[in-house]
Symmetry: C2
Subunit: 294 residues, 2 copies
């Protein structure tokens, strides 16, 4: 299948998976389930679940088995956005072009909906992989470690601390990017590989590709935050500068930031080239991420 059609097919599969796998909006407590769905069904690039499906398919023809863990990863990503947007963290009003969860509902509901999305990721795994307990255990490890205090949440905590002092070093910024962003992109590729039956060496390639793709992705995010407008991004633009936050752009300059993103993309492509058949879809997606406008 041609790249754009394949990307579209993966995204549609993810949207259908989210709708089918989340608790129904009329299940008690309805307000909580509505807030979970509101946050998860706001669209977005679906980068992480698409990576899960594509990585699984790089090893075989049946990505359907990877759909529940793809949805689980998107639940984790979405919970982290819902909590990041809360008044005590970024206090943001806009996400994916719509009011953030605490603006649409209220702060308590958004807090609990975030907790529920985080927990739901770990409900989905035993519900859908209980027949393959070794796979279920491996997927749980991949997701929980990536989302934990030493990666996703740790990156968020250090981001918060860096904001307060406003003179973060390049090493601190790398820690934040590697953990807040790259860890979950790594986890997406690894989880896909685990579903597809990748060998340990192939999982290492996926992890390497994910780390570099994640770094490139975050550098581009920083560039877009400084150069694109709110309507294009679907989230508040120029936030970093207004928050007095040290960004990759500010630390290295626009040009060097662009070079670093290109270098990280090349490293990701090199790792992907070692997968069966060179994983052409993943290579193309990685290259496209470098040129994205939102």
């Amino acid at each position: 299948m041609e790249y754009t059609a394949q990307l579209q097919a993966y995204r549609e599969q993810v949207e259908r998976g989210i709708d089918a796998l989340l608790p129904p909006a009329d299940t008690r407590p309805t307000r909580l389930h509505q807030a979970m769905r509101y946050s998860l069904q706001a669209g977005g690039k679906r980068l992480r679940p698409v990576l899960v499906l594509a990585a699984a398919e790089a090893f075989g023809p049946a990505p359907a088995a990877a759909l529940p863990v793809a949805v689980a990863l998107e639940c984790l990503h979405t919970y982290s956005l819902v909590h990041d947007d809360l008044p005590s963290l970024d206090n943001d009003d806009l996400r994916r072009g719509r009011p953030t969860a605490h603006r649409q509902f209220d702060e308590a509901t958004a807090l609990l909906a975030g907790d529920a999305l985080l927990t739901y990721a770990f409900q989905l795994l035993p519900r859908h992989y209980a027949a393959s307990p070794a796979l279920c255990t491996a997927l749980a490890a991949t997701l929980a470690e990536a989302a934990g205090s030493e990666h996703l949440i740790g990156g968020q905590m250090e981001d918060l601390l860096a904001e307060k002092k406003a003179d973060a070093t390049a090493a601190e910024l790398d820690f934040i990017h590697l953990n807040k962003t790259a860890a979950m992109i790594e986890a997406a590729l690894v989880a896909g590989g685990q579903c597809g039956g990748a060998t340990a060496a192939q999982l290492t390639l996926l992890r390497t590709a994910g780390r570099h793709l994640g770094l490139a992705f975050q550098i581009i995010d920083d560039i877009l935050d400084a150069t694109a407008d709110t309507a294009t991004l679907g989230k508040t633009a120029g936030k970093d500068a207004r928050a007095g936050k040290t960004t990759y752009l500010q630390l290295h300059g626009r040009e060097a930031a662009g070079r670093h993103a290109t270098a990280a993309t090349d490293d990701a492509l090199a790792a992907l080239a070692g997968l069966p058949g060179g994983a052409p879809f993943l290579q193309r997606l990685t290259a496209e991420m470098l040129g994205r406008k939102s």
Copy 2:
């Protein structure tokens, strides 16, 4: 071993397990790991992890294998307290006789520490049960379902909604108690049984016992909130009345509430009696909960 000594031994095992299994306080991000430890090492009755260990031991002599899941359950319980105490929910200053996490650190750190404790529960399971993937998968299902949007978080959400309308019905209050409190006590007994190799029928007995013990526990909590003082409780007393919250006590009266707690305790004891040897430690603990003063 005599009951009090056995209870003390279980509690010491839990305290040592928490200290050994949590991320070290000097691991980056240190502030986050310190907040996780501050919240988890505040003491408390350790009811849930003690139930895990005791339920495992009811089926064999080696509760050590149950320690990681006991700690995982206490992580889940503690995260739910940390988030409940936040300004957007109960806005409480005191927990287990010490400042709540957001008072000791700040709101953002408490939010993230809660997220990290929740996630850590699901890191602990694959870290410690990967050699028994079927057990790992079963434990993950038990914990995630109990902590999810239809149980723990769902109960919390309905509690919040009930507070706002201040005229909750008995059925609504039962939903809240069954999900906000009893579900995790059920999960503790079931997880212990799963570690001990309980049969499906025995797991059902444990689940039944947990539900009734959980209900009794919550009714006593409501009674203590209205009748005990803050120093004895280690948390703010009289909160429910001040919040205009419908409580079990208010709905049924002090005397009927006491009778219901006794009846639920009797139901729990009857279920426990069906376990091997009658599970005397669990029976005694269940009976003691009825007469507790804090």
